[in-house]
Amino acid sequence: MKYVDEYRDPRLARSLLHEIRQTATQCWVLMEVCGGQTHGLLKSGIIQELEGVVELIHGPGCPVCVTPAEAIDFAQELALRPGVLLTTFGDMLRVPGSRESLLTVRARGGNVRLVYSPLDAVELARQNPSQQVVFFAVGFETTAPATALSVLQAAQLGLDNFSLLVAHVRVQPAMEAILQSAECRVQGFLAAGHVCTISGVTSYEELSARYGVPIVVTGFEPVDLLLGIQDCVAQLESGTASVSNQYQRNVRDAGNRHAMHIMSDVYATADRPWRGLGTIPSGGLVLRPEWRQFDAEYRFQRPTPTLLIECADCRSGDVLAGRIKPPACESFGTRCTPESPLGAPMVSSEGACAAYYRHAPKSGPHAVSITNTGR
């Protein structure tokens, strides 16, 4: 398959691994921002192959994992209201709120429907005028343009039964929050390739310059990931820090201007609590006041949030901030598994805990080391 097979070429991957090992004079600490990259690195065995050469810390790039429990609780509460049909992406269904997941809410009668696109939710609203269709919008800049488009489409169709519960988050403020943290060990970033198809490359330049870190836009296949790592390591070894693009087959320097236009028409940035990371300045998106009629926060009154007690056995906050690797959590693989997750990162297809649980051998010569991590 074109654009896939050549990026899985074992010989090319081997030679890149060799080059990285030759170049690195010390063990550099890189963060792969996106959960999809974490899965790719573990699935292909790159993390294990580079042990002692490059330490890869997973980033917060799993949008469903960082969605605060209050937002999930509100979505669940809406799904249980008569006349409301709550729609969302499949990944969101199993993520626990403060008490349960949307899947269990559906099992006890909540009206929850999985959709593949927010535009499907608009279509559902058009077909069911007697129901209030709410789309629970999660995701980074990758999915935000499509949800923005759904608002424009709903407005064009004159729908008064469609709204968005917006939990969109922005990648760059989260990267900055990580760099600002006192315990930050990250020396370079593999920026999330898919997000950059929208936001572009140049937007990272200020961040890279201000903190003196290399930021390399990186894809998801083994060769993509190795090219990103190689670029980062080469920069670190030569003492430079710039932004570069190793995912050029998908990412243009300026990003997707059309998508960004639509986003800025519909959304404004806002401070946003991230699960595990706390409130991140400008870390989220909200609907602009002129689109308020499509905002589920305004259409439906949100109940006063109850005091949330995060599960004491779950260290997803530390995992999401990259402070520990999932296997270092005492509950990992014992009390917390994909079947009975304590935290969102064990559930989502992009979650770091799920990635380590699925792809990393738990013991043996290829087991992922947890000793060389933060604390």
């Binding site: 398959m1 896939v4 899985r8 070429d9 074992p10 991957a13 081997r14 691994l17 999809g36 573990l42 699935k43 292909s44 065995g45 790159i46 294990q48 192959e49 199993r94 593949y116 083994p222 994909p338 079947e339 297809s349 649980y357 699925r358 792809h359 990393a360 051998p361 738990k362 013991s363 043996g364 290829h366 087991a367």
Partner: protein, 350 residues
């Protein structure tokens, strides 16, 4: 029960637009009419046509295999098959991989009121055709009609009886280090066909299900007297589920080589797009076979003489217990654990 009762047909006409009504399931005249005019013409055979409370089956010499399965697939019709073909092949494949020659099946229909009779007829024709291909007879059955919303259009249960033909494969507990693992065809076609058709994904051409009987493949191996350790159809949970189940029954690890997996371009494309693994996707006409070391190539060349197994391939081997019950050799040449399918990425595929 015969069609004779129709001469005195009740003045109540069949539902407008020829749809199944609750009355069709109440055991009265409309039930008899449904059986006489729709079920028997499609499926009738000597045993079924006697319409007794139970089918009287002839004597058989040896031991029997008995299985049952329910079918709730949505949509009812999909490229490559429908709920009818699935209901026949699903059950006879369970018999076949257990080393049995399928002989008889039962057919229970749970119909949502309002189902167009034309739809039912089409599905009955598929059942008849599949039964003929698989050389089984539908010998007993039941029909229930439930109010709208109680089921989604049509659910089917089939049970099947087959004669166990010696020697039946000893099963996964007999797996030994060095055994070779084979699949009889490309992976994941059924699950992807259902996904693409249910979600109107608009692929052109649409991915087709692999829904097919495995009986020819099982027979040809039996006739060749090849040593088979275990056979299993890779339905829900795909090949990964079979391998995990096998690994749980013997102290061994299943080692698969990603580069050796047969996957069609359509399935691969959809899987790449949606982040799915073909090893986790359901099949309805593919089985996994374990044979002793050194037999893989011979078994595959024999299987490839059959249309249903034209793309059979050795995909890996049984090794001594390693880091995980099932491992996949990925791009860099290292073995990575393959997780067990969790829940249903895609519900109601069969």
């Amino acid at each position: 029960m015969t069609a004779a009762g129709n001469q005195y047909s009740c003045p109540i006409p069949e539902a407008a637009g020829e749809r199944v009504t609750l009355a069709h399931g109440e055991g009265g005249r409309l039930t008899r009419k449904l059986i006489a005019e729709h079920l028997l013409p499609a499926l009738g055979n000597q045993i079924l046509s006697s319409l007794g409370d139970a089918a009287a089956l002839p004597n058989v010499a040896g031991p029997l295999a008995f299985t049952t399965d329910s079918f709730v697939v949505s949509p009812l019709f999909f490229p490559g098959g429908d709920i009818g073909t699935l209901a026949v092949y699903g059950t006879i494949n369970d018999l076949a991989v257990s080393g049995a020659r399928p002989r008889w099946i039962s057919l229970s229909l749970i119909i949502e009121e309002g189902l167009p009779l034309a739809v039912l007829d089409r599905i009955l024709q598929s059942i008849a055709m599949a039964a003929k291909v698989a050389q089984v007879e539908v010998v007993t059955g039941d029909t229930k009609v439930v109010p709208q919303g109680a089921v989604d259009k049509l659910f089917i249960n089939t049970a099947g009886i087959g004669e166990i033909v010696a020697p039946a494969p000893p099963g996964p507990a007999s797996l030994e280090v060095g055994d070779e693992l084979i699949v009889t065809g490309p992976l994941g076609r059924h699950g992807i066909a259902i996904l693409a058709s249910r979600e109107n994904m608009g692929f052109e051409p649409p991915p087709h299900s692999d829904c097919a009987p495995l009986t020819p493949a099982v027979s040809i191996l039996r006739e060749a007297k090849y040593p088979i350790r275990a056979m299993r159809d890779a339905t829900r949970g795909g090949v990964a589920a079979v391998l995990h189940e096998w690994a749980s029954q013997a102290p061994v690890t299943m080692q698969i080589d990603e580069a050796m997996l047969p996957v069609t371009a359509e399935v691969r494309g959809v899987c790449e797009l949606l982040g799915l693994d073909p090893l986790h996707i359901a099949n309805e006409g593919v089985m996994v076979i374990a044979v002793p070391a050194g037999w893989g190539r011979q078994v595959v060349s024999l299987l490839r003489t059959l249309e249903v197994a034209a793309q059979a391939a050795v995909i890996g081997q049984v090794i001594s217990q390693k880091i995980a019950p099932v491992v996949v050799r990925r791009a860099l040449g290292t073995d990575q654990p393959l997780d067990e399918p969790l829940g249903a990425p895609l519900p109601r595929i069969c």
